[in-house]
Symmetry: C2
Subunit: 340 residues, 2 copies
DNA sequence: TATATTTGCTTAATCGATTAAGCAAATATA
DNA sequence: TATATTTGCTTAATCGATTAAGCAAATATA
């Protein structure tokens, strides 16, 4: 293979008979370098096909221009869209991202953090695994003094910047919508209470139910892992009640799909007999029949804001303890499953 | 924030009153360093919470231990699963990966390649965008002398290592299956011929049709972008034929879903009136009704082999022109849409 | 006992790019 | 004209880890 050595600043300097330092400054458009020299440097750089050695510059400047990203899984419309938008902002600022997946495993998440720190990333943007309760690894990131930004699955105790949607308010929006469709007994298949976002959805559900004077019964509120399978199981539980609900609000789209499958199998008409609303706007929600009403979490905005928050942090030397908590409004997408 | 400087080899050396060189060697278990010193070094390293500066070592050794990955999009079960398996192999060997998405855009793909080269990756593992015809950017990677491995969407002209499934044979398998279900007029909604994998599926379809003496008519073979929308359009075209097919083999799952929607809308029974088979085993194929028969591409194996091929290449100094072409057997998953 | 080898380290250079400090020539200002 | 400032560079050190070369002491071999 062509193993010709790469061109360095020194090579350019030699051609022009100036110092490497002058070349470096010319490349960075330093005001103390003449236009003539700058032009010559750029010309020779192009001729020799110069590509800066990013590693050398990283070592000298003490920063890698890499941002680590940790997500539960990339294989989800929400996360991949967040990443895409994050990337756009960060690339523009000269940063590249290293994406890692935790697969919802706490252990994998910890090892990802170690990997990213080892790679000397300049910051970490993360959404936590469902399993994660112990925050010591994130404390480790904080103690390194590099920016840590959480999104979607954040943890308030950590005291770091956060971007996400207003889960509490989203629940209100859903309940209000279901009531407008004439629903009188609304059940909630929620996520695990220990995860903040799911806890907020549950609180929102309970408060909205009270606000509108609907029956709030313990067996109408179930906690779930929100997998498709568990969505099926929880829907079956609800159908076995002697007084089943006329609407079900599920805190995740996969579980909502499971619920829908059970309803279809049992020939219960959706939305005529039971209205169904999911959460997350996964693409399949519009593909199944009936299509599932769900909540759009503005993944593009979240990605963009998370990236911008990072940029802001990295550019302020004087660490300000003021945190950015960006809570976005979500959007209810009404489809067949609740549109009666 | 705690901005205490990171511990370096020098710090450890100072504590033990030996040279940084000795510390470095002790860390790497050099045979010329005494056990006593090694133990002491490890003890102090732990005490001072030493983390090696990856960047400094990368600069000195001329390698970054980063592998660049380019995929059309991470938001697909196939690609995210490939990446997951690749990561596992590479992490074990001390490599980290930088994932980038081309979003099926040739231009984005080129800029991703530039980004990765700029980041000094030690190699690139890629699956090409649909748009990509011009290979000059990949030639650039080759000319840098770093390993380039392609998977799934590869291009034979490039003369690089490749991992994928046997698309030609997969088509045969599908046609054979459909014939076993009594189908007599089998249509194919294929991808763009310029992409090798789709061309192979088309060739496999045509040859199998001939082999089994089925009618091979031009209007039964359509070329498509394989999006959901185009799947719908092409299915409508097929239904307008005066002699419509009794089975449709679609070269991608999203397009297959589009086709299914049209069939459902027009009250054509699947599989009774028309059998449907997709390609790729995207999760939703098992979720829609009827569930869609499809082809599993062994994403885990592909990821593993691609990573292993990279490791093999990076560890052989003497460049051997012998290429690895790994063609895996695929697996047909028979579901309701073709099981009559 | 005399020489050869091995052990366990040190010294100094290196990977490229960057930057603080400084210097001479050119230009501006008093 | 004398001094101050600006311009356009150079010199040398630096970011940490690594490694070739080498040296003295310890050990092995003849």
């Amino acid at each position: 293979m062509a193993n010709k050595k790469r061109t360095t600043l020194k090579d350019i300097a030699k051609v022009l008979n100036i110092s490497p330092a002058a070349v470096s400054k010319a490349m960075h458009d330093d005001s103390r370098i003449s236009d003539k020299t700058k032009k010559a440097v750029n010309r020779v750089a192009k001729e020799l096909n110069y590509q800066p050695n990013h590693i050398a510059s990283a070592l000298r400047k003490g920063k890698s221009n890499l941002v680590g990203v940790i997500v539960p899984r990339t294989n989800s419309n929400f996360f991949s869209s967040v990443i895409e938008n994050m990337e756009e902002v960060l690339n523009k600022e000269g940063y590249n991202i290293i994406i890692t997946q935790s697969n919802e495993s706490f252990q994998k998440e910890c090892s990802n953090i170690d990997t990213l720190l080892f790679t000397q990333v300049d910051g970490i943007i993360a959404s936590m695994a469902n399993e994660t309760v112990d925050l010591s690894y994130y404390e480790k990131v904080k103690s390194k003094g590099i920016p840590l930004i959480l999104f979607d699955r954040g943890e308030n105790d950590l005291n770091v910047d956060y971007v996400g949607i207003d889960d509490y308010e989203s629940s209100h929006m859903i309940i209000k919508h279901l009531i407008s469709k004439g629903c009188k007994r609304i059940a909630h298949i929620g996520g695990f209470r220990r995860t903040r976002i799911f806890n907020n959805r549950i609180r929102g559900y309970v408060d909205a139910i009270h606000k509108y004077n609907l029956p709030h019964e313990d067996h109408l509120l179930l906690e779930s892992s929100l997998t498709l399978e568990d969505g099926r199981a929880k829907m079956k539980e609800l159908l076995k009640l002697k007084n089943p609900p006329d609407a079900v609000y599920v805190a995740g789209d996969y579980a909502a799909l499971g619920a829908l499958q059970v309803l279809n199998e049992q020939k219960i008409r959706v939305p005529e007999d039971i209205c169904l609303v999911g959460f997350g706007n996964e693409p399949f929600t519009s593909l199944v029949s009936p299509s599932i009403s769900t909540v759009n979490q503005h993944s593009n905005e979240i990605g963009k804001i998370a990236a911008e928050t990072f940029i802001k942090r990295i550019n302020t030397d004087n660490w300000t303890p003021k945190l950015e908590k960006n809570i976005l409004k979500s959007e209810l997408i009404i489809r067949s499953s609740s549109n009666r």
